[in-house]
Every structure is written in C-alpha cells, then in structure tokens.
Symmetry: C2
Subunit: 358 residues, 2 copies
DNA sequence: ATGAAAGCGCTAACAC
DNA sequence: GTGTTAGCGCTTTCAT
C-alpha cells in the first residue's frame, strides 16, 4: 500500500554523492554539468553514486551562484492559456525552451492591467531568465526595471506602450485591410467591424486598416458600424443582432478576433442570415471549413509567432544587444465561402450599392 | 533610446534593504513575509526602503532554507498544452494555484514515455512542490521516488499504472456506455468505435464501455469496427472512409476523443454522409452546434477536472495523508443532431437491422 | 520587538 | 585531474 504522505526521505545532495563516490564535491559538480577534466573512471564512479542515490541536482540552489544567476526558467504571460491562439503560442515557446533546457511558467493576464503586473512580479521573484508577454493596453513602462536587471523582454501579438522592445506579431493593419478589401471586391459597401477591447493596440491596428481601406474606396462607415469592447462571444453576438436589426444593416461583417467570430457566426445562424450576410474573421477556428458557408478567415500563425519570440528571447539572453526589432509574421486569407458572399439585391441594400464585384 | 542589454544593474537584496532602513536582516524578512513582531514604525521604514530599491525577494534563495523547501511552484504535465481539453485543465489549475501564490510550469508530454520522464526529472530538479500529471500508458512506478521525497502527485484524465495515487477524471467506461446506448436507442446495430492510442487507460475504458454495452444489447462488433491508434485527425478521417467503404459499413460512429471527432466529421462531410451516418464524439468542440447536423458529444468538464486536481494537490501538500482517492467528474451528453440520426432503410443496412428506435 | 549566526545546495575561483 | 574555500540570498534558530 503506497501511502500518500510518508516521512519524506531527505533528498540526496552533491555532498552525499561525493561521499559515496569517494571524490570531492566539485568533481560531482563537473560530472553533473558535463564539464571537462574528469577521468573516465572517476566519472563512472560518480555516475554510479548518482544512480544509487537517485540524485537530482537542485537547479534553484545552483542558480544562486551560477553566472548571471540563470534559473533555466522563463515566464510567458498570455491573455488566457486556454484561448486557442494563445495556446498555440504557448506550445511553440515550450518547444524552443525545451531545446535549451529551460522550463516555462505560463500564466493568464485576462487582459487585466493589475493581474499583468502581479504576474510580472511573481516571475521576477522567481528570477526568470526572460519574459515573453502579451501586453494589455496599459503602460508597460514598469517593465523597464526588469530589463535593467538583465531580464530580456519579448512581446507577442501586441506592441507594448512606453517601452521599446522586441515584438513579434502579425501586421494587423495590413491584414485587416486585406479582409476589408476582400469584402469590397465582392461588392460590399456597408461593412461593419466588430472589435475587441480597443485599449489593445492590436485591436486598434485592425480598426485602422479597416478605416483606411474603407476611406480609400470612398466608403462611409456609418455611426455604430465600428463597434469595440466585444470581449465575449455573447456580447459580439448581441451586437451582430443589433446591426442586423438596423434600418440600414450591413451586408458584410469583419470580426476582428476569434472569440468575436464565434459569437458573430452563432448570431448569424440564429437569425438564419449566414448565407446572406458576408463575414471575414480574424484567426482560424476548428471546423470553420465544415460550416455552410465555410468561414473565411485571416489566419494568423501563432505557432510561428511563439517560435520566433522564443528564439528572439534566447538570442537576447545570449547577449545579442542590437536595437529592438519588430518581427512581422505572415498571415493568410483562407476563403471558404462566408467572405465571398455577394451583396443581395433584395432588401435595403442602399442607394446604388449594387456595384459589380471585381 | 532604451538599450536591450545594458550593464545589468545588480538586484537589491534583503541586506541592501536592511542597510538602507537601518534595521537587521531578519526584520526585513519579517516584513516581507508578513510575520508578527514588527512595530508599525519599523515596518513603514522597511517598506520605504523596499520601494526605494525596487526590491523583489528571491524566492528561489528562500526555498533553500524554507521549511519543507517549498518553492511555491508546481508542475503540470499535459499531453499537449494546445489541445483544448488540456488547455482548459491548465487554466483551472492556474486559477487555484494563483490563489495560493504558486506558479505553474506547464509542459507537453506528447504521449511519449521518454518525454514524460524527462519532464518529471526537469520539474524534480526545480523542486516543484507538487505534480499534476496526465500520464501516458506506460508504467508510472518511477514516480514513487518523487513521492517519497515529499512531492505529492495527482493524476488527471488518466489512471496511472504501477502507482496508487489520487486521480481526477471522467467515468470513461460509463460515459462511453451512454454514448453507445444512445446510438442503439436510435436504432443502430452496426456501430463502430474510433479510439486513440489504446495504451492510454482512458482509451481502453471507453472501449470497454462500448464493448459491454454492445454485448448487453446482443450486438456484434464485427472485425475492424473497433479501431485504435488514431492519434491524428488525418488517421481518424482515413479510417472513417475505410469503414464507409466496407461491404458492411457501420450506420453509426463513436469518436472517442476530440482530435478523432474532428477527423471523423471532416471525413463524413467529404463523403457527403454526415446526415446519413450517425456520430457521437467525446469532448465538446467549438462550433459543433453550428454544423448540419450539429455534433452530438459527451462533453467532459476539463475545467472542473483541473480545479479538483489542483485542490487535491494542495490538500496533499497541506499534509492530508488519507488514502488515494479517485474523483469522478460528471460529463453530459449534448444532443445536437448527429447522434440522433436514425438508421436509413436504403442501402445495405444489414439483415433485420431496421429495429424501431426507442 | 529585534538581531546575530548558521547553513540550505550549489557554482566560481583558485589552489594543488 | 582533482579538491578546498567562499559565498549566492534567504530562513531558521536562538539570543537579547
């Protein structure tokens, strides 16, 4: 019967290993860290002792004296570890970190400024070797301290405020433009944009791309057509219904984030308008290809974002001291039907809006 | 211009704080750890010094002497941090841990025995206070060492082998039975089961529930109807097509894991058979409600599994030394259409298989 | 209410 | 090749 809590047996230390192997402490350290200047015979003896005692070195103790105080640990702050976009980043970061013998603390800020700071403090107290952060909209100037203490910082998905640092992200304005132009090309004139919390720079950039492209096409954005703060699928869905019910409803929607897309699509189906009102979403979704119509999306590449961010972070740890870089990761437009719906002539399509699609 | 790498300013230590505040080292420690026996005035002075120096205590150093050697850190081993089921567990664990001031190392074993052991070793070297593990099929006896050294272990989603420990999971055999019976109740006789790697106890339990229920209903499981090792959506899809192409094709499918469900549904749509062949999947999927037909699933409750596992782990750390417990978390059957499809009389539905559904 | 001394397990610096 | 010494930043123990 294995008890759950027995008198915890003391863990073996290097001293124990040294004693058993009949060598000095430093020799054990050499073997454990694969340092040179150990004879094959001594090494074998030490290894036997390590196995006999089930010794595992205490990395935390080592970091106290290790040069640079390295803990072989990094912190990853995401908006939510269970958002598929964030989870994909998490996975990619883990792969890069594992190859460097580094463990990853992952945590969710929930797009809350206070929580973000708490997480940074929590990781700082654990002396992580580096930090990868999905910053919320506030000011990230407080992170300057961390950096001055030698902790490199890399931002993902969102540009930080009040701090110049490496960022890895999608060219959000450009891809929002692509989405908008795609709808314009299919004859749409009344295009609404459903955005996340506009405190987030990424959300603002997507709005910017939309506004620019609409303006360039000479199209108006009626009041209420560009809606922000849609932080849940439910809010997004309610907003879609409100838009549909307007006297001048949009013929096309852009949902600027995965959660919003889910809420939006669900609302369209609820109203039976999914084959009637066009939609292009940001971020790909599982099963998006199997709906009728399939959901057209701007698919970002979170795995690549995570990978590049982690590689950048390790490069900084390895003493790359070049200027801060902004790394843009390509996305792609995946057309599946919902974004290729053309304007219907029925209903109030607006004055002269039956332009031929290109 | 903020440089990326400047000469890293030395971090303030407790000694620095003590010197600046003009108090002893231990007094600072008392303030930092909210211990009693510090006058209000002294406390204020120390806190001012802490702020002035931007002092953050080094938790790793503290753990060296802290009773029980606590690191305020736990390890979480999932099959893949970017699997939605695992990500939901991750999130729930994080919430419970955060409330206890504990940071979470999350990592992916990829259902690889060697990787699982490496992760345990990596976490052991970091002296995590506890371990939550989604064990792969092999033998978990090697973890006995960890436990003897005082590191509590809680398993999630899968029962460990060769080790008696707390487990939090769905009653897989029972819910697989529910899925099977649901299809039988809708007139199906030829029901196929698509399983994950059967080394995984959870996959075996689901098969068990299926087999028992089929047997209890007096139904045969033709050779090739119960397929395992479907570790990717592609493999699962190919297997569905193979089943469809048999001379005696199934009229209903059970896909025993989320990745398999995706592959299976995709294959049915590819062949245009989604309204023709019934399907019940394990694990809920986003947008599953919007397909035609909607996908009927046995929805597990990963958030609850993660929460209970974390609570159990902290209880063990707090010296709960009762016997190992198995905690079953309720799931529910969500009917959306695909699982309620009845047997068609057309085609080869088999001899006398037109039984009335209950 | 406060502080001095010891030492956790390791790595760095410097012997031999 | 190998070992000895010192000390990282903290918590514990025990004085005062």
């Amino acid at each position: 019967m294995s008890r759950q809590t027995a008198a915890p047996r003391r863990r073996a230390t290097m001293r124990d290993v040294a004693a058993l192997a009949g060598v000095g402490l430093k020799t054990v350290s050499r073997v454990v860290n694969a340092e040179p200047n150990v004879s094959a015979e001594t090494q074998a003896r030490v290894e036997r002792a390590i196995d006999a005692l089930g010794f595992e070195p205490n990395l935390g103790a080592g970091s106290l004296r290790r040069e640079g105080g390295r803990t072989l640990t990094i912190g990853l702050i995401l908006d939510a570890v269970d958002n598929p976009f964030s989870a994909a980043i998490n996975r990619a970061v883990e792969i890069v970190a594992a190859a460097r013998g580094t463990a990853v603390f992952a945590a969710s800020s929930d797009d809350d400024t206070a929580r973000e700071r708490e997480l940074v403090a929590a990781f700082s107290r654990r002396r992580v070797d580096g930090l990868i952060i999905t910053a919320y909209g506030g000011d990230q100037g407080y992170l300057q301290n961390e950096r001055e203490h030698g902790t490199p910082l890399v931002f993902v998905d969102r540009v930080p405020n009040g701090l110049l640092a490496d960022v890895v992200l999608t060219d959000n304005a450009a891809w929002s433009s692509v989405a908008t132009q795609h709808l314009i090309d299919h004859g749409h004139r009344r295009i609404a944009l459903l955005s996340d919390d506009l405190t987030i720079p990424t959300a603002r950039d997507r709005r910017l791309g939309y506004e620019r492209t609409m303006a360039a096409a000479g199209l108006e954005v009626p009041t209420g057509y560009s809606v922000g703060d849609l932080t849940t699928a439910e809010l997004a869905g309610a907003e879609v219904e409100r838009l549909i019910d307007r006297p001048d409803p949009p013929t096309a929607l852009i949902t600027a984030q995965n959660v919003i897309t889910i809420g939006g699509v669900r609302a369209l189906h609820r109203r039976g308008r999914q084959s009637d009102i066009a939609l292009v979403g940001f971020d790909d979704l599982q099963l998006a290809d199997l709906l009728s119509p399939g959901i057209t999306v701007v698919a970002q590449d979170p795995a690549r974002i995570g990978q590049l961010a982690a590689e950048r972070l390790f490069a900084r740890m390895d003493d790359d001291s070049g200027p801060a870089e902004t790394i843009l990761v390509p996305a792609r437009l995946i057309t599946r039907g919902s974004g290729e719906l053309r304007v219907r002539r029925s209903g109030r399509t607006g004055r002269g809006s039956r332009a031929p699609a290109s």
